[in-house]
């Protein structure tokens, strides 16, 4: 599904990714761990098509070169990034945003757009699965939401948009144990043979709830080590310094 070869990324003359290789197949859950400043969020930003990066190397998504695609086209083709810091958008109602988003994707895929009633039914169902109070949906997008509410809202978006590749950028940061479990349940219930996850995290604790097939250690812009779920547990005990 995703094949990254020798990826380099530079921003403001800072060379951050220095030859990263990664292959993700449908049905797989990959975790990327690493110390601060290792390039984890840069990888997420580059995959989402954020402007400002100078990129070398090759990223293929289902055989198609990602560099040719705009951010919205990537989303329309099934790439989803749960933001580390979801943005507050004043004046934009959460429901309106969700519907515009879902219908933009449906439209781009040549599918029938959802009418208001069908959409509201869908969003209500998904929100209740995540324990999100309905009144949040009529509030301005992320405005005044707590850290945990913002992260839950990202997972809600994922469940509504049904992406093929979900990138979770430190979704666990700022979550208490209960919220962490709800988020993890949200991910686990969406996991299937067709879709894949790339989970970026500092800590093992999210991986206690979402079992990864592969754990990669990112350091100094490269993947230094790859292992299975055991690697994450080992890292928690010994820290990064023994590995990188």
């Amino acid at each position: 599904m995703l094949n990254i070869k020798n990826l380099e990324a530079t921003i403001d003359n800072k060379h951050i990714l220095k030859g990263l290789n990664l292959d993700i197949k449908p049905g797989e859950v990959h975790a990327i761990m690493g110390p601060n400043g290792s390039g984890k969020s840069t990888l997420a930003n580059v995959l989402s098509g954020k402007n400002g990066y100078e990129i070398k190397g090759d990223i293929k998504y289902n055989g198609e070169s990602l560099s040719e695609l705009s951010t919205e086209e990537r989303a329309q083709k099934g790439i989803f990034l749960a933001f580390q810091y979801p943005l507050e958008i004043p004046g934009v109602n959460t429901n309106t945003f969700l519907r515009t988003s879902l219908n933009s994707i449906k439209k781009a895929r040549g599918q029938k757009e959802l009418d208001t009633l069908t959409f509201l039914k869908l969003v209500k169902e998904k929100a209740s699965e995540l324990g999100i109070n309905e009144k949040f949906l009529s509030r301005q997008l992320n405005v005044g939401f707590s850290g945990g509410e913002k992260k839950k809202n990202e997972i809600l978006q994922m469940k509504i948009l049904q992406p093929k590749l979900s990138i979770l950028d430190e979704t666990d940061s700022g979550l208490d144990i209960d919220a962490l479990r709800i988020v993890a349940d949200g991910v686990n219930s969406y996991k299937n043979k067709e879709n894949a996850f790339l989970i970026i995290t500092h800590y093992q604790r999210l991986l206690d709830y979402i079992k990864p097939d592969f754990v990669h250690v990112l350091s100094n812009g490269k993947i230094m080590k790859t292992g299975d779920a055991e690697l994450g547990i080992q890292l928690e005990k010994t820290g990064y310094s023994n590995i990188v």
Binding site: N51, A75, F80, F83, L87, P90, V92, F97, L161
Partner: protein, 414 residues
């Protein structure tokens, strides 16, 4: 502007000899300075003389006797209406109300005193005004439905100026939701010059909305003077995007205790549109509130201006006055000028002002795009969110939705 305007009092029918003399005096006063230009401090950001000079070959007046003609009414909510064509009162409908509680007539030029605003457009209006209306709401009467004033203009107003005066009186403990609806899509340049006097008596409340319905080559000026008595409330919502030129010159006099006023504005300016909101809020007495929030989005080579003055008289203790202007500038060729002014002579007051301008937040755009929303739509969503916020305080849900839809159309370029 080169002196190519051609104004004739003789074109106005049915004037008494005294009126002709008074109007000629006013016309002479206008000719002393011509249209306002940037040398006048109040017009330093809107040099009307040069704007008209660039866009008009000639401007003349006329006295209109238009026949009634059909026009499209708002069907989103039930309402009373007054329809004007080129400023002349054409038809009215107050079918939702008790008839004897509302008095409506043509503006009475013989008995109504002229307002005192000493710019040359004021003199020109005094000289040439015909039409307009006088609306009075009886004591203790609260209108059941909103009142829409359809300001229609005929498409034949090529290089013509339309001048009229309105007067609105809300007697004690009355209430009115007023929607000034400008409806015209003329490709021809024409100008409108309105003087309006509003009196809001004790315990009364007026919601005053101005909305422009379609893009047109109208050069619009309105001077609105209002006087508020004890416990009265005056809220203004200004949504005039789409007019080629617009200057709203608003004076609010808080003359008695516990009166409240607000001015909310949301403008999305495109191409070479030029719009100015100028306010003067006079706190003449203690314990009054005023609130202003002006938001502009500037595309292409448009220009937006906000000159907001708060004046607090020495006796006006416990004044609470606030003004804020925010602008989003989307193009290097666009311009926004803000001139906030506070003139305070009392010492126990709460007055604050702020002004910000900047570009759109690209991280927010990225966020929306990452959810599959195309870039153009992402911009429109953010602009919409930015502007719609000024409507939040409107209590009537139907009107609020109506205005939101209109605003969205304005943002999408009609």
């Amino acid at each position: 502007m080169k002196q190519n305007y051609d104004f004739k009092i003789e074109k106005i029918k049915n004037l008494s000899p005294e009126e002709i003399i008074l109007r000629k005096k006013n016309l002479a006063l206008f000719y002393q300075t011509g249209f306002p230009n940037k040398k006048d401090e109040d017009w330093k950001f809107s040099d009307l003389n040069s704007i008209l000079g660039k866009n008009f070959n000639n401007i003349s007046n006329n006295d209109f006797f238009p026949k009634e003609r059909g026009f499209k009414k708002i069907n989103e909510f039930e309402h009373n209406f007054i329809s004007l064509l080129n400023g002349k009162l054409i038809s009215t409908n107050f079918s939702y109300e008790e008839k004897n509680k509302i008095s409506l007539d043509n503006f009475d030029y013989k008995n109504e005193p002229f307002l005192e605003n000493k710019n040359s457009l004021y003199f020109l209006n005094n000289a040439l005004a015909t039409g307009g209306f006088l609306l009075e709401i009886s004591k203790n009467y609260k209108l059941k439905k909103p009142l829409v004033i359809y300001n229609n203009f005929s498409n034949s107003l090529k290089e013509t100026i339309v001048n009229y005066k309105n007067s609105i009186i809300l007697n004690e403990n009355s209430e009115l939701n007023l929607i000034n609806y400008i409806n015209n899509s003329s490709k021809e340049n024409f100008m409108v010059n309105i003087l309006e006097n509003i009196k809001i008596k004790k315990d009364s409340s007026l919601n005053n909305i101005l909305i422009n319905n379609s893009k047109c080559n109208c050069y619009f000026y309105k001077y609105l003077k209002s006087d508020l008595e004890k416990n009265s409330n005056f809220e203004n919502y200004l949504l005039s995007s789409g007019l080629k030129f617009n200057k709203l010159d608003i004076e609010i006099n808080l003359n008695e205790e516990n009166s409240k006023s607000s001015v909310f504005s949301a403008l999305n300016l495109m191409n070479s549109e030029h719009q100015e909101i100028k306010t003067r809020i006079n706190h003449n007495t203690p314990h009054c509130h005023s609130y202003q929030k002006v938001k502009n989005v500037l595309n292409h080579e448009s220009k937006g201006i906000y000159q907001g003055k708060i004046f607090v008289k020495n006796i006006a203790q416990k004044t609470d006055a606030y003004q804020l202007s925010k602008a989003l500038i989307l193009n290097d060729a666009a311009e926004f000028d803000a001139k906030p002014e506070l003139e305070i002579y009392a010492d126990d007051v709460k007055c604050s002002h702020g002004s910000t301008s900047g570009s759109i937040d690209l991280n927010s755009i990225h966020y929306l795009k990452s959810r599959g929303i195309p870039e153009k739509e992402a911009y429109q969503m953010l602009i919409n969110g930015f502007l719609c916020e000024v409507l939040e305080k409107l209590s009537d849900g139907k009107i609020k939705n109506f205005l939101k839809e209109k605003l969205e159309r304005q943002i999408n370029g009609y």
